[in-house]
Symmetry: C2
Subunit: 120 residues, 2 copies
DNA sequence: TGGTTATTTGGTAAAATAGCCAAATACTAT
DNA sequence: ATAGTATTTGGCTATTTTACCAAATAACCA
């Protein structure tokens, strides 16, 4: 792996790290439906508003969002347009996986009478 | 946000967390070109083989790969087929962004004679 | 001006992650 | 069996990330 490849991989990793938190993923999915002001997220997310702001800063630093201040409100917009399609795909896969897992668990139940759920 | 949505977001987050490390992203991109044995990764990645193994375990637990043991070798295969397209898209975006950043830096250089590079 | 709301930033403690070594497992071959 | 290779797992620090509080900024309004 040469230097350029390494730099590219690390840049992609930054994007993925920014996405890899439930609160930030929620924000991204909301933004996929249109721009939102910080205040909306502060209202919707059960965490300190400073925490929400820091999550938004992570998204901004990763280049995933654009920002526009209007009056005293700050609006965030999704920048990387390929994200929604990808997140949908992941969503389908994890839904299938968990369905498959359930089937396996049920099989085990039928055959072995194992009662404990799969490890979280 | 209801419970089901929350569970789904957290499941997607697990996938993204698994992807969000340069070594694991490298592994995923290699696997996108076809199955590989652990030994190949151990050889290619500059880290202890136990570290490589643990990264592979993360991918496995996230449901991103399938595993097949043949003889004393263990082969990993990519499971989530939408990944390569997505990673390509991210790659393009980060390439553009860094190009844009370079242009901005150059402008600053011309106007202000700022010499330090942008913060890593 | 002073007060109020929206948002960001600094600091810190707690939790999660990554990496290494050593040890355990699993297979193969002698 | 014994030894050798491939891989995983346990245990331990070091680093990174997260969340909260408090304080700083910024824009608005009385």
């Amino acid at each position: 792996m040469n230097d350029e490849q390494k730099v590219l991989i690390e840049a992609k990793t930054e994007v993925l790290k920014a996405l890899a938190h439930p609160t930030r993923l929620y924000i991204i999915e909301e933004l996929a439906r249109g721009e939102q002001c910080v205040c909306k997220f502060v209202e919707a997310i059960k965490a300190d508003f400073s925490t929400v702001s820091k999550h938004l800063a992570v998204l901004k630093n990763a280049g995933l969002v654009d920002i526009e201040k209007r009056g005293q409100l700050v609006f965030y917009q999704l920048r990387m347009q390929c994200l929604p399609a990808f997140l949908n795909c992941i969503g389908k896969e994890v839904a299938e996986n968990s369905a498959a897992r359930s089937r396996i668990i049920n099989r085990q139940h039928r055959h072995n009478k194992i009662k404990e759920p799969m490890e979280a």
